[in-house]
């Protein structure tokens, strides 16, 4: 089958690229072997940690761009970053939408009782932003091993409550299982009554971020009615239920728009002729299929996603064998201290591009004419330490599609 555009990789950047291209009326195929880092780490939308509180997005970002000419944000530009974020948030109309606190970062509580700066917050998390000042009750579930209310509450200056095991659970309690239970009214009422009994003078109640996948706002409202206090979600260990919500929303929208979505498919080979990609072979054992398009966007992520692979000697890109910018030897990949103040050099490794996000070699020569690069695979940023993960994904996914579909 032939498409206008094939997007390889179904993380946030790939989904953004597919959305953007589809809006320009193109025939798009997006395929991925999994749901990407989105469902591991993305609870909120990070833009940049150094965005000072209260500073307007464009001011903070413009300064960063000035100081970091090789950063993906510098390729995109502050204006397009803002455009891309608007395009992202348009997918999430109220009541479950993404908001920012006065154009700057908010500090949200985490499962480790720390506060974490982040830019766009789902409405189910907003009330958590003031928990340090206003206090609250942090609730967890006995038998749910990925959240310890007492641990988080002590550090946040809150009170904690561990709910006893409920009849609903026969097997190990997981985030996904809890999220499913939360969508049942009977379960919400059962735990709601229990919490209400234990409430002191708190006016808000924090839960691990498992308030349902399909209708988190409904779950929040339901709980608030029974408990009689405001409810918010706290990001915890992967998997990320809020990340799954983002994924599901994109998928639903893309399918509705007629985009071909192939999940669980990975590219085994790209067929190149000169500096053009002619098609891809996709393996979905026992079948192997061939797809072609005029243009391609590569958004396969880093090591976790499989977009980059490291062997003992070097880091490579397995689909197109693109040049990967990287430290000279493995000895330089990581610093001696895990919590070093400087980021580990391996995180800066990735694909170099020109200003249109097309891949280039170390001399700046364009390597492929009809392939664009988006997302965390891009060289020159460290999404974890800069807290720029979702921002870079959204901005470069949007930008890559805009550039690819230009002519």
């Amino acid at each position: 089958m032939h498409f206008d555009l094939i997007v390889i990789g179904m993380g946030l950047s790939g989904l953004m690229a597919a959305k953007t291209a589809s809006e320009s009326g193109s025939k798009v195929l997006i395929l991925g072997k999994g749901m990407g880092a989105l469902c591991l780490f993305s609870n909120t939308i990070d833009l940049l940690e150094t965005l000072p509180k209260g500073m307007k997005l464009d001011e903070g970002l413009s300064q960063w761009i000035k100081d970091h000419p090789q950063h993906p944000y510098s390729k995109v530009g502050a204006k397009i970053v803002e455009e891309a974020l608007t395009s992202f948030t348009s997918l999430f109309p109220l009541p479950y939408s993404f908001v920012s606190a006065g154009d700057g970062n908010s500090l949200l509580p985490t499962g480790a009782g720390t506060l974490r700066p982040t830019y766009l917050i789902p409405t189910t998390m907003v009330a958590g932003a003031s928990v340090r000042e206003q206090g609250g009750l942090i609730v967890g579930f006995k038998g749910f091993k990925d959240f310890y209310p007492d641990y988080a509450a002590t550090l946040l200056g809150c009170r904690s409550l561990t709910l006893p095991p409920f009849r609903t659970f026969h097997e190990e309690i997981t985030a996904a299982g809890l999220a499913r239970s939360m969508e049942k009214e009977s379960f919400r009422e059962e735990i709601g009554r229990e919490i209400r009994r234990e409430m002191g003078n708190e006016t808000r109640v924090g839960f691990p971020a498992v308030l349902g996948v399909r209708d988190p706002w409904g779950v929040k409202k339901g709980l608030e009615e029974t408990i009689g206090a405001e409810v918010f979600e706290i990001p915890i260990l992967p998997p990320s239920i809020p990340g799954m919500r983002i994924f599901n929303r994109f998928k639903e929208w893309l399918v509705q728009r007629g985009v071909t979505v192939l999940l669980g498919h990975s590219v085994s080979k790209a067929i190149l002729r000169g500096r053009r990609c002619e098609g891809i072979r996709v393996s979905n054992p026992p079948l192997s299929s061939f797809y072609s398009a005029d243009r391609y966007i590569l958004s396969t992520g880093r090591f976790v996603g499989g977009g980059l692979v490291a062997n003992e000697e070097k880091i490579y890109e397995p689909i197109f064998d693109l040049p990967v910018s990287q430290p000279r030897s493995r000895e330089e990949w990581f610093r001696k201290s895990f919590f070093s103040n400087l980021s580990h050099p391996v995180h800066q490794a990735g694909i170099l591009t020109d200003s249109s996000l097309r891949p280039v070699d170390d001399k700046g020569e364009r390597v492929l004419e009809n392939v664009w690069i988006a997302g965390s695979i891009l060289a020159g940023h460290d999404s974890t330490n800069e807290k720029s993960r979702e921002g870079v994904e959204i901005a470069t996914g949007y930008m890559a599609a805009k550039c690819a579909m230009k002519k």
Partner: protein, 515 residues
Amino acid sequence: MDIKTEVLIIGGGATGTGIARDLSLRAIPCVLVEKGDLASGASGRNHGLLHSGARYAVSDPEAARECISENRILRRIAGHCIEETGGLFISLSEDSPQFRERFLMACEEAGIPTALYSRDQALELEPELNPDLLSAVKVPDGAINPFELVRANAKDAERHGAKLLFHTGITSLLIDQNQVRGGLALDLLSGEDYKIEASFVVNATGAWVNQVLKLAGLRIDMALSKGSMLITNQRLNQRVINRCRPASDGDIVVPNETVSILGTTSVRSEEVEDFEVTPPEVSLLLTEASRMIPAIRGARLIRAYAGIRPLFQSGGTGGDRQISRSFALIDHGERDGLKNLMTITGGKLITYRLMAERTSDLICRKMGVDVSCSTHLKPLPVVAESLRPKDRLQKIAPGGEVLCDCELVRREELEEILETMQFRDIRDILHRTRLAKGTCQGGFCVYRLLGLLHESGLVKESPNKVLKAFLEERWKGIRPILWGGALKEEELIESIYKGIFNLKDSVEFGVGSSE
């Protein structure tokens, strides 16, 4: 709380706990102090090999004879710490056939039983061996769990009246004229100090012997040799695989429960706590070990670690590989004129019991007591039931919490341990369970462990401080092997702790958790 006893033993490794057991079985009162936890030095930092002695048969016949004799004793008294895997010394095309003949003869002289296998026989037993091998010699090597062994000795010693004090250091020796009379102890977690009066002091601190001797203004000649090892996340061999050539780097792969351990290097070190495994060491171990077992090349490594061999130099020159692996018992009364102080060092994990016997014999002679050793006759107690993965899986009840997914460690298992011990430091738990020993090396489960400890009121400071210290310590073992699957996992772990949890800045490991 000043203490009076007969013998003060410094060092809680195999030798120290072995001496405590030996003395207490002879009804001689003793107190053992250890600055860390059980087996935190070389006793816990080795490849878990139950030596047959074959490795030393050609170069060091005395050490070889000690090994095979102790090998037989340990099979009798410590069966529950041992897996009787057997071992092979394989010859590849570049290995000299003359060496193999000398090796066979030397084993016979040392009393080590051998059998010669053809290439095909060897491959049938160990299908992952390099098919280019020429032959293999069977020897009675085995795998031993050193933590279990040391804990069993400690438990038996305590059962017979010995007192064991952990996280406790000796800050000075009490010396009266030309005689040692005990030492000043410092509880490193609480800061409390007190006096331990003793008629005899035994220095069983392995690589740290000179730090203790310095307190008496003494010193002995030690060569510190760092040996590095790598762990794979699967077991590639059923038997211990050795290279049939003179002792060299990367000549052994020891199977251990569900993993294989590749050893070792020998690098002269000046530091007793130099545990860094360097990239050249990693490359060398992989290159050499994969000559014996090619599948090692593609295997997922889970950790690198190093131990310091305390080698006693009785003079002579040559490389560290040539220094005898036999042990030395030094009577400082005879050597330096400081009575009732002795140092026991050198040796191997496998000869710990013999070292303890000789030391205890010396003390008995000095005391004028005539009780003989019985440690070679009485079986060691079982401390913790060692469960195979299948048994661990069967123990998981519906709705139960498995805190460590890699090694199937249940919440109940940890709660039971916490009930039976006085919890002082997170490492007390890490040394007593399989938690954090698997593929993710504690990346997920230590957060959960801290959640449990915090709930139980056992973490008095910020749990994040302990968590960060653990991650920093874990990093030392992970950093040398970060490529392939391990790098992928590390990106995930870093994204969790620095990303989702926003943890920053490094802190030092081992900060006390009780008041």
